[in-house]
């Protein structure tokens, strides 16, 4: 049911290493990030498609790849699967000709503007908010995409089937479960929902501690 990227709460990973604190530990990390952003500017996919591409790496590859190797693999897969490059070009390491998308190239002098512009994910005309701060809500179980089997979702497994309290209404945001699969943006009200840590993890957790997640309206149902 779950995918390997959905690792919140997993046991066995050992200590965090705060000394691993470089922005780019290797030159190629920086190049991989820049390449991914510049390729994204061609407008052939959205952020949800790109996340899903990384998440659908095989569990074996996802686990053994370092962070930017996952980005590179997801990028290569998207470029071929969406028809920007061919498998033959990847294999040869060279292009067979100039792309019909070449007019969309991100030039150096446009970089600052593109990065500063951002791309808001709020949309007008979405369904009304059914919940308000203070309401008790229950998360969907199981935590899977209800439109596409094995599809992208942003409800982590650890947070499914739990009762929590709405703490913020963020407005209506593009729904990743739909947007990752070319099924439209389908914006819905998005909420920050707080869960008592002990409801999530049991008595190991701190008595007063909380976990807060951003969850779309269709991930939630009212509680009596």
């Amino acid at each position: 049911m779950s995918r390997v990227h959905d690792m919140g709460g997993r046991y066995g990973d050992g200590a965090v290493n705060p000394a691993d604190n470089a922005t780019f530990a290797q030159d190629w990390h920086a190049r991989a990030l820049a390449l991914t952003l510049a390729a994204g500017a061609l407008g052939q996919w959205n952020i949800d498609v790109s996340r899903h591409a990384r998440e659908t790496l095989s569990p074996k590859d996802y686990s053994r790849f370092s962070y930017y190797e996952k980005w590179l693999a997801g990028l290569a897969d998207m470029l071929v699967n969406l028809g920007v490059l061919t498998r033959e070009e990847l294999k040869a390491g060279h292009a067979t000709g100039v792309s019909e998308l070449a007019s969309r190239i991100l030039k150096a002098d446009a970089v600052a503007g593109v990065l500063a512009k951002g791309s808001p994910y709020t949309r007008d005309g979405a369904p009304n908010a059914e919940f308000k701060p203070g309401d008790r809500v229950k998360t969907r179980r199981p935590a899977h995409n209800i439109q596409v089997a094995g599809g992208h979702t942003r409800l982590p497994g650890y947070a499914s089937g739990l009762i929590g309290e709405v703490v913020l209404l963020h407005g209506a945001h593009v729904l990743p479960d739909s947007n990752a699969h070319g099924l439209g943006e389908a914006a819905e009200p998005l909420y920050a929902v707080a869960f008592a840590a002990r409801d999530v993890w049991g008595d190991e957790a701190g008595a007063w501690d909380e976990v807060v997640l951003d969850l779309w309206q269709s991930y939630l149902e009212p509680t009596a």
Binding site: I47, L82, V111, G182
Partner: protein, 223 residues
């Protein structure tokens, strides 16, 4: 990513054609095994296709290595500490203020500012990937993207914070924010004692990157 409605080829038809669960079908396996060579191969092919300007890659790297980083967030925190009107605005509706400061952009379109207090310690994670407020903090450090941080800080935040040298008293609430959407969270650390009368520049120097993620505290003066 740089995406507008009507401008994408990510239609249901060609996305449905994306092989999901067949390892041997993944095009990435056609690239060289060594990661640095993999980047170079992709950059070469895309440049030859007319789709990538290598100078644009240099510019992106320059931006995140030298121009956009935690110094931006530190300025915001110092001003929140110093200016009650700004603080209220940032807690209520931060986006107009951040746009005015030009701390707006990719991965920072929807900011929420959460304040540490004597009662609550906030810490931020993205368990599903590595979401992080780029315009205020830059590109996340390696540990933020590590499996150990992503898997553990939601379940045992106090132990993970101790690994960063932060001990939270039992009677203080720890609130972990798992960034599951496009909302990005910035933690305002508690203002250290002994900083009365310091100006914003001096205060900003006390605000570390980790203190704005919640895995650190602001530095004490002269520390």
């Amino acid at each position: 990513m740089h995406f507008r409605a009507g401008q994408t080829r990510a239609t249901s038809a060609n996305l449905a054609a994306m092989p999901h669960d067949h390892d041997h079908d993944h095009p990435h396996t056609l690239l060289p095994p060594e990661p640095a060579l993999r980047v170079r191969a992709l950059e070469t092919i895309l440049t030859e296709k007319g789709l990538i300007d290598p100078a644009a890659l240099d510019e992106i790297i320059e931006t995140y290595q030298h121009k956009i980083g935690p110094q931006n967030g530190a300025k915001v925190v110092a001003r929140i500490w110093s200016d009650p009107t700004f603080r209220k605005g940032m807690l209520d509706e931060p986006m107009p203020l951040l746009e005015e400061l030009e701390f707006y952009g990719r991965q920072g379109e929807h900011m929420v500012i959460v304040e540490n207090t004597p009662e609550v310690h906030n810490v931020v994670v993205c368990t599903l990937c590595s979401c992080y407020p780029w315009p205020l903090l830059g590109i996340p450090p390696g540990w933020y993207k590590s499996d150990a941080y992503r898997s553990r800080v939601v379940r045992e935040p106090r132990k993970v914070l101790a690994e960063f040298g932060v001990d939270v008293p039992d009677d203080k609430k720890v609130r972990v924010w798992d960034s599951t959407a496009e909302v990005r969270y910035l933690v305002v650390p508690e203002r250290p004692e002994g900083t009365e009368g310091m100006d914003e520049d001096a205060l900003a120097a006390l605000v570390t990157r980790d203190s704005m993620i919640g895995t650190g505290l602001a530095l004490r003066p002269e520390a």
